[in-house]
């Protein structure tokens, strides 16, 4: 197979995944051309700090969507968990980790509550979480007694605003950041190589070796450039470490665990899954518990980022998270979607928000653009599926 045919093959075979990656690159390129500040070290650092909570929510949301459900309550849960944490840390004067712990516990309880109604009572997730959206928003007002609480300060503030910097020294460029990213890139390369070797061992088609190497080198170059920008600004953001850890854990859970496999099975054909002995209720329950937990992590990160808790925090976050999943290739009918796709979808939302703000696009226009992008992404998905059906 010559190189061009090989490239074309890779693109058509992974249209759903790579299409979104291409879109991401194009959007970044457009903003970079329109505004030279966009790719500056400071602004890249800002993007990471500002939008991590959407990415964290998207990781949980993609599992909910794959299972064939939806969660409309995550914005309210972000507000509630942040509020609880603020009460514990600011009002009661307890240490920062007590606030974190309290928020996580509340997130788990919220998840268990919604999971119970969805899985064991059989009410659609749409209704349960619509009720939850109102319920937890109201509870946030109760917990905060209708007023904002601030500031957290100290270590808690550092969760979303802190950096790991200067551990290994460096002259204006943080060595530690570069080392961590280099390790990640090498690790990713090795795992890709092993996957490729495994596929060859099973006599499956793989892209040609030069193409494989070029792909990895381009990716490594982009990632290391990004690392260099971070390193020359303020170092490695703490939230980026949290996000990376969550990404690795959830990529494993969704692709390599029995639980993840069953989530996909339920989304694909719930009836078949049930007949095959998949414990559908249990899986649905834990999918919502997991969403509650991740919403509380997002709540902690967000409250730390804004250094306080407001009753109206987290408004519309659910829509950003859901949009991230669908832009990232999740299917509206369930069973299809990946953590990686949702993260890229979230990054597209983040980059668009940040880019438009940077360029001073009026706030009235920003949601219009985002809405159109969501619509196009899902239209593209449906077009792809029709074409796949026609090919059969």
């Amino acid at each position: 197979m010559n190189a061009i045919a090989s490239i074309r093959d890779v693109i058509t075979r992974n249209m759903r995944q790579s299409g979104i990656l291409v879109a991401f690159v194009v959007i970044v390129a457009i903003f970079a051309l329109l505004n030279p500040m966009f790719l500056s070290p400071t602004n890249l650092t800002n993007i990471v700090l500002q939008y991590t909570y959407i990415l964290i929510l998207a990781i949980g949301m993609v599992m909910v969507i794959v299972a064939g459900q939806i969660d409309l309550s995550v914005g309210s849960v972000v507000a509630l968990t942040g509020a609880v944490s603020a009460v514990v840390v600011i009002k009661m004067g307890m240490p920062w980790w007590m606030g974190v712990l309290a928020a996580l516990v509340v997130g788990l309880l919220v998840g268990a509550w919604q999971g119970f109604w969805v899985a064991y009572v059989g009410i659609p997730g749409f209704i349960v979480t619509l009720a939850g959206m109102l319920l937890f928003r109201g509870l946030t007002y109760v917990v905060l007694d209708n007023v904002s609480l601030s500031p957290f300060g100290g270590t808690y503030y550092g969760i979303a605003n802190g950096f790991v910097n200067g551990l290994l020294g460096g002259y204006g460029v943080d060595t530690f950041t570069l080392v961590i990213f280099a390790i990640a890139v090498v690790g990713f390369g090795v795992s890709q190589w092993r996957t490729r070797q495994g596929k060859i061992a099973y006599q499956q088609t793989v892209e040609s070796l030069p193409l494989f190497v070029v792909k990895l080198v381009v990716l490594a170059a982009v990632v290391m450039w990004f690392a260099y920008q971070l390193a020359s600004s303020r170092g490695l953001p703490v939230v980026l470490i949290i996000l990376a850890a969550l990404t690795i854990v959830y990529a494993l859970v969704t692709q390599k665990s029995v639980f993840g496999r069953h989530v996909y099975a339920i989304g694909g054909n719930q009836h078949a899954a049930e007949l095959s002995g998949v414990k559908v209720k249990k899986i649905n329950f834990w999918v919502f518990v997991n969403m509650g937990l991740l919403a509380s992590v997002a709540g902690i990160v967000y409250s730390s980022r804004v250094n306080g808790a407001q009753p109206a925090a987290g408004n519309m976050f659910e829509l950003d998270a859901i949009a991230a999943c669908f832009i990232g290739g999740a299917s509206t009918s369930g069973g299809v979607g990946r953590v990686g796709g949702a993260l890229i979808g979230g990054l597209i939302m983040a980059v668009m928000s940040n880019g438009m703000q940077l360029m001073g696009v009026p706030t009235s226009v920003q949601p219009i653009v985002k809405g159109l992008v969501l619509l196009l992404a899902v239209a593209f998905d449906i077009y792809n599926r029709r074409r796949a059906a026609a090919l059969r």
Partner: protein, 244 residues
């Protein structure tokens, strides 16, 4: 000479849905190395019987024996443990998952650290498909990219996980083309060659006569005759419709 103990025996099994008599005192024997066909008109109770054997429904009265021992089949997973595997009429596969994932769904192999053992499962799946002489290009193909016949083959292959003794096939050829049907019928013959007892439910007398060793007719939920596969078409038809 003592009669061979059947692999599966139903004795006087009845099932009612309210006032509707779905099954009334039905008897059925299935031996190893045997394909028993269940035929009958719509609503004759074929699918109900299949669901009783596969644990989806529990009978209101009567006995179910597996290798001479009385058993209660309370759920599909209980049926699996007893060695009964089923392919249901509405093609119980997940189209978004690949062949391997479908074959092992609900019975995944785990590595020592509890993660999915994909390599092992793929090898096993390829072996199973070879046993059944199923031709599928790659075991990593998602099922939505396969033809209806290939999907049915995957559904049949998944019954072989956990070495079952009895396989229930509810209308496995209903939605298939002629060529695909022929292929599925050879898979069914392979199941018999592997030493399993097969219950084949079908509308299609031609299919049934092609593969089965014995044909049992149900009519209005009751046994209405047992025929060798060589029996005349008209004879079986008469038992199905009740014309005598």
């Amino acid at each position: 000479m003592t009669p061979r103990t059947p692999l599966l025996a139903l004795r006087q099994v009845s099932k009612y849905f309210g006032a509707v008599e779905a099954l009334v005192d039905v008897d059925l024997d299935v031996h190893a190395h045997e394909v028993v066909a269940l035929v009958g008109d719509n609503g004759a109770g074929k699918s109900t019987l299949a669901k009783v054997v596969s644990g989806v429904l529990s009978p209101d009265s009567g006995l179910v024996e597996i290798e001479g021992e009385q058993v209660t089949i309370g759920s599909p997973s209980a049926a699996n443990r007893l060695g009964v595997a089923s392919v249901f009429q509405d093609l119980a596969v997940a189209e978004n998952l690949d062949v391997t994932a479908n074959v092992f769904l609900g019975q995944e192999l785990r590595s020592r650290i509890g993660l999915l053992h994909d390599g092992e499962m793929e090898t096993e799946t390829r072996k199973l498909l070879d046993h059944l002489t199923v031709r599928i290009p790659s075991v990593r193909t998602p099922l939505r990219h396969l033809s209806a016949g290939q999907r049915q083959a995957v559904a049949i292959a998944r019954t072989l996980i956990g070495s079952p003794r009895i396989v229930v096939l509810d209308e496995p050829t209903a939605a298939l083309s002629v060529a695909q049907t022929a292929e599925v019928l050879t898979h069914i013959e392979r199941l018999r060659d592997l030493g399993l007892g097969v219950i084949l439910i079908s509308h299609n007398l031609n299919d049934v006569r092609a593969v089965s060793d014995r044909i049992e007719v149900l009519r209005h939920g009751r046994n209405n005759g047992s025929f060798p596969a060589s029996a005349a078409h008209e004879e079986i038809l008469a038992a199905i419709t009740g014309a005598s």
